[in-house]
Amino acid sequence: MRKVAMGLILPAVALIIWELSAINADNAALVPRVGAVIGQLIHPFSDLMGTGSFIRHISFSAVRVIVGFFLAALLGIPLGLWVGRFSRIRQMVNPFVEMLRPLCPIAWIPFALAVFKTTTVADIFGFHYTSSIFGHIQLGMLFVIFYGGFFPVFLNTVHGVQSVKNMHIEQAMLLGAGRKKLFRHVILPSAMPSILTGLRVGLGIAWMVIIAAEMMPGSDAGIGYLIMYSYELAEMDVLLASMVWIGVVGMALGAGLKMVSDKYTFWQARER
């Protein structure tokens, strides 16, 4: 109880400062009152400026991130396991990875836009007869989410495989583990905490990148789009409520993955 109260002090101070500045500015198109933003937040299903509700925009952003990040994990984990296992391949791959890694995924957005235009997943698979969500998953967005999510997943997986204790490998082989079983019963569980850390970091980055990508031209929905659109219409209460939503969803994604990962990594934190 005391801990919760302690955690609430800073948010309360922030809200008071905000409210005081809003009263002082007296201009809802610049700094809306706290009440106005809360008014938006408690109506997640109502239409906003003819673009749909918060829930609609959040769903689009979330689906884009989930699809793009799923692809990143789908490639990053196996590739990381493979590269982590063989030093020769690591020598070949490392310089390339180190060159691409510091390149901020957001820097790729214009390039992705130029290459993929506004092609969507629905365009590729030809699902045009229904206006499904696939019509809103732009390839360019998937590309930058993939790019942002891939490196943390890949690099943490490589690191996880490399930090498997030699003693555990020897011990397993001395108890009859062949190559395949060694991989499944020793290398994979040893590397699991690191892989899950990679997933959490990667998902966090993907969630940041998608907001930026949705702010680009050619975007038609999503929480990033909603921020830009409400900015253009000077609907500051919607804009700020969108930002709150980004924080909430980001926190939920992180907490969800953390719950999964705690199940697989509890032994590591307590290892002595």
Binding site: M173, L175, G176, W267
Partner: protein, 263 residues
């Protein structure tokens, strides 16, 4: 009877990070018969762990050869296992899953391997901890789990590297007695490394005393003390003193050598 292990004139040299040569073992020969319990005894750094790693197939000798059941050792073999000097349980597995690991690798069904694992956990007095994880165990309990895991694998040859080194006297004595009991039932062949004279005299059929730099066999003693062995008996204490004298001589000589080479 044919030997389980034949170590023939084996040498192993390491180069340390400063580029200096370390003769860990130089010309070791040793046979172990089926059902025999041989203790390797020697000062720290004399190459005991190295010898076990060679027999286990984790490393290859620079010279000489090692035969297991008349076949040369070229790598890790399914009928040999090693209990490490350091704790080596898999931290992501429960005690039961750790002990069942070897049978799981052999493809034994879950029910069967858990039954056998429970059997060995009972032998080592860990039954109530089967659902615990290694980090929840004391050092001694971890070492007992490692012992149970090795026994549950049912190897033809069991190698043990100071498995009781980190335990208090009481626990160590209990585990030593348990090991002897288990061995009597299973006729398990064991090559056991220790630096405790007491432990060697209590356990071994034969004690092989090694000297260091270079690592070679100083003396082999067949232990004449009748079983069950009594630590207070005359035979026991006499042999203890005799071996102590040998070890002191070895350590003294290597200290003299060290001061000579340093000058």
């Amino acid at each position: 009877m044919k030997s389980v292990v034949q170590i023939q004139n084996v040498s192993r040299t390491y180069w340390n990070t400063r580029g200096e040569k370390v003769d860990a073992l130089s010309g070791i020969s040793l046979d172990v018969s089926p059902g025999e319990l041989v203790c390797l005894l020697g000062p720290t750094g004399c190459g005991k762990t190295t010898l076990l790693r060679l027999v286990a197939g984790l490393e290859v000798p620079d010279q000489g050869s090692i035969l297991l059941n008349q076949e040369p050792v070229t790598g890790i073999r399914p009928d040999v296992t090693l209990v490490f000097q350091q704790y080596s349980l898999f931290p992501w597995r429960t005690v039961l899953e750790n002990v069942a690991f070897g049978q799981e690798m052999k493809g034994t069904s879950r029910a069967e391997r858990e039954t056998s694992a429970r059997h060995y956990l009972a032998l080592t007095g860990l039954s109530t901890f089967e659902k615990a994880y290694p980090h929840e165990l004391s050092g001694g309990m971890q070492q007992r789990t490692a012992l149970a895991r090795a026994l549950a694998y049912e190897p033809r040859l069991l190698l043990m590297d100071e498995p009781f080194g980190a335990l208090d006297d009481r626990t160590r004595h209990r585990l030593q007695s348990e090991l002897l009991e288990i061995r009597q039932r299973t006729r398990q062949t064991i090559l056991f490394v220790t630096h405790s004279i007491d432990e060697a005299v209590f356990l071994a059929d034969r004690i092989v005393i090694l000297r260091d730099r270079p690592g070679l066999i100083e003396e082999t003693i067949s232990v004449p003390v009748p079983r069950p062995r009594d630590r207070q008996s005359k035979d026991f204490t006499n042999l203890h003193l005799e071996i102590r004298a040998i070890l002191e001589r070895i350590i003294e000589q290597s200290e003299i050598k060290r001061t000579l080479t340093n000058e």
